[in-house]
């Protein structure tokens, strides 16, 4: 590995920027994601920052089942993210469809539309679980190199 690659890799692990996207969730996971960013839990300790656009983001944090209307938009947002990109599915319905399974406008979990790197179950996933999931994802990236 070249020195420059090492630096890039180190920087990537120390400042993973996230983009939060609601793909049809009930808002519960979304407020827990925001709660994870606010003082009590404060994921910024790990360099995690919420960004406004997919073009700045390394990790796409999705909550909720994929609805028919959101599917194409989700794929489009995923495609706008620069490589390497990672997807975290937060909540039971993002993982599998959860309580919404079988409803006519729901396709199922996030993996029905885009590839997912980490699943964080829970209804809603608590901020502690979200932090745990993000840290585990970072660890697996560290080991992968």
């Amino acid at each position: 590995m070249k020195v420059i690659d090492k630096i890039v890799h180190w920087a990537r692990l120390k400042s993973p920027w996230i983009l939060h996207f609601n793909t049809g969730a009930c808002n519960a996971c979304d407020i827990e994601i925001i709660a994870a960013l606010t003082p009590r839990f404060d994921v910024e300790r790990f360099g995690v920052q919420l960004k406004a656009t997919p073009r700045h983001a390394d990790i796409l944090v999705c909550s909720g089942p994929v609805t028919r209307q959101i599917r194409d938009r989700l794929i489009r947002i995923y495609e706008q993210m620069p490589e390497p990109k990672f997807v975290v599915a937060v909540g039971t319905c993002a993982t599998s469809g959860g309580v919404f399974q079988g409803l006519y406008n729901v396709l199922g979990g996030i993996d029905q539309a885009i590839p997912v790197n980490a699943y964080i179950p829970g209804c809603p996933a608590s901020p502690m679980a979200i932090i745990d999931g993000v840290v585990k994802l970072l660890k697996s990236l560290e080991e992968s190199e």
């Binding site: 709660a35 003082p39 028919r68 959101i70 406008n105």
Partner: protein, 585 residues
């Protein structure tokens, strides 16, 4: 004689054929049925003579050969008049938007989900179904089969009857959103946008910095819960309904169980209704603190976001202690509540609430004295009292325009009839007023929670509920943190409900948003939208339309834009035409 009985007499005196058929199901709930040819006259009388000035919602029912419609009208005093009527499936009904502009949304829903035909409905973007949903498939019809959506066939149905994505440009018609002048710019905002936490998409027509028109497309969060409820049992539905929205989950589940209890004739124990009230007020506290933070964030005051969300965690801890979960509490069951509040929990809760009271006093002082906050919020998103009444806004949005519309007072449920509290109103009519109202309501909620905790009667917390609910119907209203939430339940004597209809508060407020944005600066859009405390996962529907003269318009695609810029630069002496666009794999 109660007011409802007087109204019943007036109705029977005016319309002979109604004699004996007006049903007073419970206090403040009137039900009647009429043939469709006599409906218009009756509706006009109810609105103009009897003072039913607010349309809660319209419920559509599939009754085999016919489509049934129930118009739920409410009075400021809290009496709800439910007018039922029906037509054959292929016969149209007339739009009631002349009386209630807000009815447009509810009628659009009838068209999309039930295949009703509504004459005089303003054309617009579809809701709540996806853009590529076939036009001839109506999911709420009883004979509709979800098999048509299975892989392949959904694709095959992409035919002529599909309205493909997307944008207001495709809408034609005199009243639709369209660009008024050639110089206007349409700016798409959403579904993913930094200012919005939930997927919704605005098309904003801009004249300079000013907003000339707004078209709102919701439905990104539409999951089809109403249909799902019909396929699940009453007990499963509690948990599904709770997940309509994670912020007002207790609101939806309480409204639902109250309606089911009314049909089943269950009297819940007093202690249970007190516990429901306590959880409801704690939920309001967490929701209003959440809103305060989000509002701070939208105006670039992130310190406020961090402060109020830090305080909010204290409430989340209490909710987790009382119910076992931070969000989606699952405390309600049909016939009461699932968990009791133990005596040793009471002082703990009161202690936290007293700390929060001090904090909130600081926020109130901040709101009253901080010059930047006042200047940023005053005069933004103005909605006059007349507009509130005309557009049917609810909750703090209505109360900030001096309309004391509060279901807790007008139509008390749970233990609210015994709670001492003031309805907070304000006459600022703008976002600043809405901030003051919410802060005031926080203080009321603190004192109400304390009152309920101290005066909670002893006794059981639930009664046994039957698995099968007898045939019947009920409407329940609930004052969610965002405004009035309406549930209509129809049962048929089995384990599953026949129809569940939910009208979330944000749906009633979306009309008001367009009005507030009219002729305002684009930079105000985030805070104005945030000021109604939108909850689009509750709403999942659309639509609001602003009149603009329909002139010639041109859609510029990506290629057009590129060609235009190449031409423009050529005139400046730079030639970009040889440059290749980057190809995506």
């Amino acid at each position: 004689m109660t007011d409802a009985e007087t109204i019943k007499q007036k109705l029977e005196a005016k319309f002979n054929y109604l004699k004996g058929s007006v049903r007073l199901q419970r206090e403040k709930r009137l039900w009647l049925e009429t043939a469709y040819d006599k409906f218009a006259e009756l509706f006009d009388f109810a609105v103009k003579e009897l003072g039913f000035s607010f349309l809660c919602t319209i419920t559509g029912l599939d009754e085999g050969e016919n489509l049934g419609y129930i118009y739920h009208l409410a009075q400021p005093g809290g009496i709800v008049l439910n007018i039922k009527t029906r037509t054959k499936k292929n016969e149209p009904i007339k739009s009631i938007t002349a009386y209630f502009p807000s009815g447009n949304i509810y009628e659009r829903e009838l068209v999309d989900l039930l295949g009703a035909k509504v004459e005089g409905l303003i054309e617009g973007l579809r809701y709540p179904l996806p853009d590529d949903w076939p036009r001839d498939q109506y999911p709420l019809r009883k004979d509709w089969d979800a098999k048509v959506l299975e892989k392949g066939s959904y694709g095959e149905m992409h035919g002529e009857n599909v309205q493909m994505p997307i944008g207001p440009k495709q809408i034609k018609g005199p009243t639709s959103f369209s660009i008024a002048h050639k110089n206007d710019v349409t700016l798409p905002i959403g579904p993913q946008h930094p200012a919005l936490k939930e997927p919704e998409s605005f098309s904003v027509a801009l004249r300079g910095e000013k907003i000339a028109g707004v078209e709102l497309r919701l439905g990104y969060n539409h999951r089809g819960i109403e249909k799902g409820c019909e396929q699940r049992s009453y007990i499963q539905d509690i948990y599904l309904i709770e997940r309509i929205c994670g912020i007002c989950s207790h609101s939806h589940s309480t409204a639902y169980v109250s309606a089911v209890e009314e049909i089943a004739g269950l009297e819940i124990p007093k202690r249970a209704s007190y516990i429901r009230t306590i959880i409801a007020e704690l939920e309001r506290i967490h929701s209003h603190l959440l809103w305060l933070g989000v509002a701070g964030h939208e105006i670039g005051f992130d310190t406020l976001l961090m402060y109020s969300w830090r305080d909010r965690e204290a409430i989340m801890d209490i909710l987790a202690m009382l119910t076992g979960n931070r969000v989606n509490y699952g405390i309600n069951q049909i016939g009461g509540v699932r968990r009791d509040i133990t005596p040793d929990q009471v002082p703990q809760i009161i202690k936290v609430i007293e700390t929060l009271e001090e904090q909130t006093k600081y926020y109130i002082q901040l709101a009253l004295e901080e010059v930047t906050l006042i200047q940023r919020l005053s005069g933004v998103g103005v909605l006059s009292k007349e507009d509130v009444l005309r557009l049917g806004a609810v909750g703090p949005t209505a109360r900030a325009s001096s309309v004391p519309r509060d279901t807790r007072k007008d139509d008390p449920y749970a233990a609210y009839a015994e709670m001492p509290f003031k309805v907070i109103t304000d006459d600022h009519n703008d976002v600043y007023g809405r901030t003051i109202v919410r802060l005031g309501e926080l203080m009321e909620s603190y004192s109400m929670t304390k009152h309920a905790l101290i005066n909670m009667p002893d006794g059981p917390i639930s009664v046994k509920a039957p698995r099968k609910i007898p045939a019947g119907e009920a409407v329940s209203r609930y004052e969610a943190p965002r405004g009035e939430d309406v549930h209509y339940i129809k049962s048929n004597g089995t384990e599953n409900p026949e129809r569940v209809k939910v009208r979330a508060p944000t749906l009633a407020n979306t009309q008001a948003v367009s009005k507030m944005l009219e002729d305002r600066y684009l930079a105000d859009l985030p805070i104005v939208v945030a000021a109604i405390d939108p909850c689009f996962s509750c709403t999942d529907r659309s639509i609001s339309i602003i009149n603009l003269e329909n002139e010639h318009e041109k859609v510029m695609t990506w290629k057009d834009l590129r060609d235009y810029s190449v031409e423009w630069y050529k005139k400046q002496g730079v030639d970009f035409s040889k440059m290749k666009r980057r190809q995506f794999p």
